[in-house]
Symmetry: C2
Subunit: 433 residues, 2 copies
Amino acid sequence: MKPVRLAILGLGTVGGGVLKLLQENAAEIKRRTGREIQITHVGIRRPHPELNLDGIAQSADLLDIVRQPDVDIVVEVMGGIHPANEVILEAIKHGKQVVTANKALLAEHGNELFKAADDHAVQIAYEAAVAGGIPIIKVIREGLAANHIEWLAGIINGTGNFILTEMREKGRTFEDVLKEAQELGYAEADPTFDVEGIDAAHKLTLLASIAFGIPLQFDKVYTEGISKITAQDVKYAEELGFRIKHLGIARRAPQGIELRVHPTLIPQEQLLANVNGVKNAVLVQANAVGPTLYYGAGAGAGPTASAVVADVIDIVRDISYTEDGAGTIPQLAFEALSDVAILNREEMTTGYYLRVDVEDQTGVLADITTILSREGISIDAIMQQPRLKDLIPIVILTDPIVESKMETALTKIQALPATRGEIVRIRLESLES
Amino acid sequence: MKPVRLAILGLGTVGGGVLKLLQENAAEIKRRTGREIQITHVGIRRPHPELNLDGIAQSADLLDIVRQPDVDIVVEVMGGIHPANEVILEAIKHGKQVVTANKALLAEHGNELFKAADDHAVQIAYEAAVAGGIPIIKVIREGLAANHIEWLAGIINGTGNFILTEMREKGRTFEDVLKEAQELGYAEADPTFDVEGIDAAHKLTLLASIAFGIPLQFDKVYTEGISKITAQDVKYAEELGFRIKHLGIARRAPQGIELRVHPTLIPQEQLLANVNGVKNAVLVQANAVGPTLYYGAGAGAGPTASAVVADVIDIVRDISYTEDGAGTIPQLAFEALSDVAILNREEMTTGYYLRVDVEDQTGVLADITTILSREGISIDAIMQQPRLKDLIPIVILTDPIVESKMETALTKIQALPATRGEIVRIRLESLES
């Protein structure tokens, strides 16, 4: 099969990320799709020596690129309304499939763009337009397709969530945190889109359409930002068992649909209340499945590229299927399975929680720590618990270590004269990325 | 287009749920697929007067059902290895598409079943086999397809998580909670599959295959249950900042792949540590998107049916596409968009957090509560805060009320002689289902 050919329009943070991801994960992606993806054109306004563009045609004439016959898919990652709108329409007219991360464009002009796409029998894929790397569009359009969706509530602007998190955790003011967010690059010099909720309203517009099957109606979203939230109210909310989150909410009410973006007190014990920093999450309430929640990075080169390239892969499969009936999703996700070894228990690596009950503590602690140290096991924490039934429980947390070494150490500790009963050993994972 | 025709094998909790969901959400599902789904056969061993089976052929001869020409998709929701294995193989030989929720069957015999499906160019869809209603199979196979997946860790057995949650929250013993779980119907009379991790190992086997592209290797999963976890260790873990969760973990290590199911200490601040009760969640670490998490109901009639029917919808779309090029996923998820009204702000209903700063409190509290009461606004909590800059902040939480009434009340409260500054009004949502 010949490769599927891609034009990437824009090589900024997101576009550069898409290019690099397609290059770095090329082998794994080909294992999934059974087909090569070739970048034939990039649309750029300045040279990009930091990127590998060997063999790729470079041009600033975007309309010309989308008319080229050696382009199957146009990836629009420039952002902004113009000229993205005109370029995508031209691509559609030339029968190109389109992938875009442009939430503002779709929320404000999507009805016409999707109509044009339907008329020309092409897709506009937009997973990256909402919640970055979280595949929330696929989840709602396909994964929850059996459900009548009742409402959804999402933290869909990372900048706003970062500001509210800092205000709560450190008692800082809005102005103070905003300044830091701008210095960190989380917030733009003009932060209006983020802090006044416009960006979230764009995303909510898209989510509501696919949840309820309604046209895109950005102008009807009630939008309120976080700039008036004070440290005082954050504190009072906390005392009452709530946290303030900037949510996009779409809800079917008896009289119609509510579309609203505003600061919201939610109960502290809700998972959504515990989504901190620049992370995003969307909670969906649907009639068959009940509540489900989707969490992850809502912005950044890698996460956005993950969503853009997932859309590309979907389209590559569709193209393969149309061309020769191949390209359905492989049963176990990959066209060819790998025979990489599965490790035995002794070869696995984890941290450990150990509880050793000892009769008399004199010297025992030294004996235990010496045994662990000789096996190369480093201790992360050690805690002597109050005497219980004449025994002193010693609790130890270790750093990750291969299980065979822990086995050796435990055999020796178990054999110490002071050790009573069987040593408790529970594995420990930091789950850090 | 003629309807797509379904046979449902088994009408227990899950099968009954699938039937009811297809009947109850028929209109919404047709809006999504543009095509009718007709249940032509059910495979049952006893009458089901509680279900509406009008016009559906009923039989106990499952092999006969899957050979019928008026069946396009076979939904296997009987569970167990036999005769499910034989029936699915027969269905495949007759060119039927298969949807199953049978994790044990797939984990132990999936390699042969998927091979047979490939040979006959049909799909075996199995979203419901892992984590119930959470669309985790679709997320990993499609949504994260651009990524090299590094590891995943999941709470994928609700019974085990319920037991550990109760032990932690109430200091109860394993045996005590297990007994209650059995009485509540969360745990089987023979709880081995759940509490010894076999069920979780089945699910992990499937997750690992689609994450890494490896054959199903259930026999190589290291599996340890929760029956030896004591209230004492749960408490010590808590004191050290950790929680004990029963996790299925699949990880690429330098020497090979780790597949393991065991109790695990994880940091309290991790979202996974805050997944309580019978709920499931899967955390996936992938190279482009970073960590993402998927949370929801892992079992039960509705959630499982949600996943089964999502698979059916995917297949209906594939069939439509093959037959006449229709059936691609609609751009905004539905074939026909609805013109339901979007409400104005005044028509929206939410709870509220109010802060009224007052100069002198005598009688003011009564004035405020009277105004709220006259507008039909009920107060959920009221808290007088310590005097701040000569003003007394009164904080009020209200039950949900239509915004126009709150506007009226706030205008009146703002006009009270004791009110100083602008009243702070932040919306409040319980996010309960």
